[in-house]
């Protein structure tokens, strides 16, 4: 993608670095999978016991403990249960449409704003949880990205209903050249406009970690790496559980028996992984490796402190990190044989890029 024509100036190292970090040519499949994973996670969460607890915390807490933050500062008083319930059910409907990719250009921003509002509202009752920031940022970024150009009802309808694609799909969406179902399930043609939103999601996740990492250095310098602070945090967290919830997690009590050098090792690893988070955007394989480490990190936090970063524990937060473009899915296109082969364009008509073709240069710029 960085080949230069004869006579043109060679791109600078910075330009090449930025290209590598932020403008890989990826198929629409990557964004589509991120959309489905995020939407499915939201649907599962809010239709489970966690969702019931979420609703209870927002509707049954004492009104006097309401402390609006962020976008919820627009409210002076808590919502009535009926109003909250209506907003909640609209969000659930939007989550379903977001997941199946219907009307993405219009529904996804509404879904993302509802996510922002509801999680902020949930955090406006005296304590701010820091476990769903990544989810909300991911929803906001996916809402603005062409995340329903494949594996979606939008892609199916664009191939099925004349004119649908003019209004409801992204400008980078390739023209349908196969039957609707095959078009909706294709991997899609790689383009930098599918690549940079993925890299931005990875970058934002990395920045979130680095904020936590630099907070530790800002507070104590590199002394945090000694592990004694980490041990103290685990102790204090166990104490909170014991006094407020009735019992500390049993795994925490086991961890507290560990020798000090294990806490030192964990603290050093934590500092390195958190502070260097944003840099993993420079290479897709490095990001994939990083996602593995951070997935383990969150399970470590769960086992040692009993703090469930649920969005991370199920791996949903790391969907963008996985190089789906390199995983050889057998798409219907590839397995359906000559019957579904794309007919070559008639002479004089616009050439259509075959799905699943190798990376193409950017169409614009």
């Amino acid at each position: 993608m960085n080949q230069t024509a004869p006579g043109t100036r060679k791109p600078s190292w910075l330009s090449r670095l930025m290209d590598r970090a932020f403008f890989p040519h990826l198929p629409p499949l990557n964004l589509a999978i991120c959309r489905i994973v995020l939407g499915a996670w939201v649907l599962c969460y809010f239709t489970s016991a966690d969702g019931d607890q979420f609703v209870q915390a927002c509707t049954r807490s004492l009104p006097e403990v309401f402390r609006p933050i962020g976008v919820v500062k627009l409210l002076d008083t808590p919502l009535t249960s009926a109003t909250f319930s209506q907003i909640y059910h609209v969000m659930l409907a939007c989550a379903l449409l977001f997941t199946v990719g219907l009307g993405h250009r219009f529904i996804a921003p509404i879904f993302a704003l509802l996510q922002l509002f509801l999680w902020t509202y949930r955090n406006s009752w005296g304590f701010i949880y820091h476990t769903e920031n990544t989810l909300v940022f991911g929803a906001l970024l996916l809402a603005l990205a062409p995340a329903a150009d494949t594996w979606s009802l939008d892609a199916w309808l664009a191939a099925r209903v004349p004119g649908y694609g003019n209004v409801l799909v992204s400008t980078v969406h390739e023209k349908p050249s196969t039957p609707p179902l095959l078009h909706a399930l294709r991997r899609g043609t790689p383009d930098f406009r599918y690549g940079w939103p993925i890299q931005l999601i990875i970058f934002v996740v990395g920045i979130n970690y680095s904020v936590a990492g630099f907070a530790k250095i800002g507070e104590q310098g590199l002394a945090w790496a000694s592990g004694s602070t980490l041990e103290g945090q685990i102790l204090r967290n166990a104490y909170w559980y014991e006094m407020i919830a009735g019992q500390a997690p049993s795994s925490t009590l086991t961890v507290l028996q560990w020798p000090g050098w294990i806490f030192t090792g964990l603290a050093v690893m934590t500092l390195i992984c958190e502070t260097l988070g944003p840099l993993v955007v420079i290479d897709r394989r490095v990001s994939f490796f990083y996602a593995f480490i951070m997935f383990g990190f969150h399970w470590g936090v769960m086992l040692t402190m009993g703090i469930p970063f649920i969005y991370h524990l199920y791996g949903a937060a790391f969907a963008a990190f996985i190089p789906w473009e390199e995983i050889p899915f057998r798409t219907p296109q590839a397995s359906s044989g000559p019957k579904d082969a794309v007919e070559p364009p008639a002479p004089g008509t616009e050439a259509v890029t075959a799905p699943d073709s190798p990376a193409q240069p950017a169409a614009t710029e």
Partner: protein, 180 residues
Amino acid sequence: MFDQFSRRGALVVIFLTAVIVGHPVVWASHLLQSDTNPDSFPLSTYPMFSSSVPEVYGLHHIVAVGRDVPEVRVSKRYWTVGGMNQARGQLDKAVTAYRRSGRRQDEVLRGFCEKAARRIARLDGAAREEFAGTTKVQIVYSKYHLKKYFLSKDKDPISRRVVLSCPILRSPSERAGAEP
């Protein structure tokens, strides 16, 4: 929307996003600890797991007490909804408001205390046994030596201060007597 941006436009979006999300790092990490820079969501400035924890540590929590019976810790599920940290935050804020107002703003704190007492009074079965003999719910501030608490049998608080207490009214006559 993102699909309409050129690379230059995309770079601007990436830069602005990085500044907005990462502003505590870009700006100065001391902001993360500043009291004048309150935490928010989803743009958080909370210094997660960063501060050192003193060996002797104090906390507001709720207990049920009575004559000649050991005290029972009252779990958050008796007095609020939501997670452990949310309950802890709510209790801390309620006690702070109560103290700052010279004990005039006690609605929230008393609400927690009375809710816990009411629910304990209505318990039956094994849960009722757990609270047998307790007569009062107390909101207390206890200090413990953390390591000793978890790694030895020493479970006694180093110090204890009662902030507010309210009676557990189990029988109808007790409840009738308490009504104004």
